[in-house]
Amino acid sequence: MDFNLSEEQEMLKTTARDFLEKECPKSLVRQMVGDERGYPPELWRKMADLGWLGLIFPEKYGGLGGSFLDLAVLQEEMGRACLPGPFFSAVILGGLFVLNAGSEEQKTSLLTKVANGELILTLALTEPSAGYDAASVEVEAISDNGDYVISGTKLFVPDAHIANYIICIARTKKGTAPEEGITAFLVDGKSPGISCTVLKTIAGDKLCEVVFDKVRVPKKNIVCKLDQAWSAVEKTLQQATVAKCAEMVGGAQQTVQMSADYLKERIVFGLPLGSFQVMHYYIGNMVVDVDSSRFLTYEAAWRLSEGLPCAINIAMAKAWTSNAYRRVTALGEQIFGGVGFIEDHDMPLYFRRAKAAEVTLGDASFQRELVARQLGL
């Protein structure tokens, strides 16, 4: 047993923290909400130079061969910094899907480019029905003259507006079970028939509506086997969920730190606000929420890294962390009072992101249902 990070992970953490403090100040984060792309390309290049974009890809695909624990460490720092941009969509959702399901050729050509920052991928899974389960996949791809033709609407697709390729999860067959007949297509983001609208979201990130109007995709762009993509989708979702939890832990940790710092400075009734016991109570609750989220998340990441069964651990981590992060930011807002209500303050960044992260990849009740099933209920 060891509750410490390894030396390399500590180094990654420090590097990431220093880098993001310098290169990703909160002013930039706020600015990027109104930016059309949503991130500065120079920052993306620098992240590629640091090796982050290939952190979890094997070396033969241009990556560093890192583990999920390494990824969790990095994601935590990104969550702390409120890093804008397509890391989650390109590297985690898109990149890991290709790694999980792609052919050798696809992996070599796509992942190398993701790792060096040339290529943005994203995963188009959810639809207006807004579910992460197989039954919610209704967008159809119909075989036509050796190609496939995709029609329908994908919703909440992150960063589709800048993606070179959108991995579209579509229904190719109405099987007996909803998991059957699902296929993944690598769709060029510029294909005729695709229209993309950036939605206005609580976290100011770039979630898109992507309408496929008879979009033609060659057969060779199928990732994974025809009709059999669901298990790879599921695996990718699980990995992404752990990463999302780590991001939330980072944001929650930073919220507690900011709140405690403020409580030491702010004077009310002639005393530091932080000397009033009810504030101790708030901080105590926040620390309990952060620690509990952290260990559930890291245990899940560790199990993933070790190749141990971890479906229940991941669901537990997301169910708990989703609500814990929300509680922590709500208390943060309470502690800061009016100043935390002003958009220029950092508190709104975390408050907004907490809600977005909570509903992304399944909220607490969705995840608890997964836990219940794992318990045989």
């Binding site: 530091p272 109570y281 836990v371 318990l375």
Partner: protein, 392 residues
Amino acid sequence: MDFAFGEKEEEFRQEVRDFLSEVVTPEMVEERAGGKYYERGPHSKELMRKVGEKGWLALTWPKEYGGQGRPLGDRFIFAAEMLNYGVAAGGSGIAIVAPILMRHGTEEQKKEWLPKIARGEIEFSLGYTEPDAGTDLASLQTRAVRDGDDYIINGQKVYSTMAHQVGYHWLAARTNVDEPKKHKGISLFMVDLKSPGITIRPLKTIADELTTEVFYDNVRVPAKNRVGEENQGWYYIAEALDFERSLVVNIVNSERIVEGLIEYTKETKHKGRPLAEDPFVRQGLAQLWIEVNIKRLLGWRTAWLESQGIVPNVEAAVLKIFGHELDQRVAKTGMEILGLYAQLEPGSKWAPLKGIIEHLYRFAIHLSYGGGSHELMRTIIASRGMGLPRLH
């Protein structure tokens, strides 16, 4: 990070399981089941002696004091396995008295008391709390006045649990009334509860089991039963708290209780369908299962810190808050799931799960102030952990 136990630890765990499978009888489990978390009946005492004979009460003590000199982490494994078997052994004698004796006792005291404690032959009731001194323990007023080779003690203790079932009182009393700093006038004594002048009055708690009031009326205690220096008792008490941090939440086995609830809802039908199909039940039990796992992880972290030679302080406060408030939530959700049946007490006809949920609902009330006020625990996290100022 590594969330697996090492090979040596797993070996020890197996050894403990083998031993417990052999010695634990249904009577021992029965005696603690259905709400006897604190009491020590004859079967529990029997188990304690067996564990003592095996040398495992003093698992991590240095060999020179009759211990096994095992790594600190083993204690955590041992306690967890005991809990899994639904039994307990080792109370205040092992957890508090012995560590203080080892550090501050005289050679004579060590020779006389430690082996008996290690073998499970004697047990102590903790005599800290008084009617006007609970969380603010330093306010205690029970007086001990030196008289030749003895002290003469007068005063009243309250909630001295098990005082009616064990031989000795581990007593904190005031030896200096002139010292303005209240915590600097307290000394510790080992008192034979059969001494003349002592009256023990049982108090029935909301959780059925008994605690006691102990009255001291001119009780003579030999000065050789004072532990450590006069007026230094407060510091010893504080120090002793640091020894068993990772074990503080090991009173209720919430994991096992939740498992029981899960089984119950699978087997029990309501309007023709298993309770486990009800979304409210599924969500509630999944949530408890998640929290049980958090308690496990927070416990592991605290134990791991201890095994690294670090005294977990803030981390132990986090564990106590989470673990004990979880016990309360287990009871609350469990009662909601049981519906009308929730009100049936242990021993009642029709009582689901032998009434353990109903009992826990009453028992868990005190866990958020007993053994450390949870308000103060949060203050510890905020002040020691996050650097906030404290007014007291």
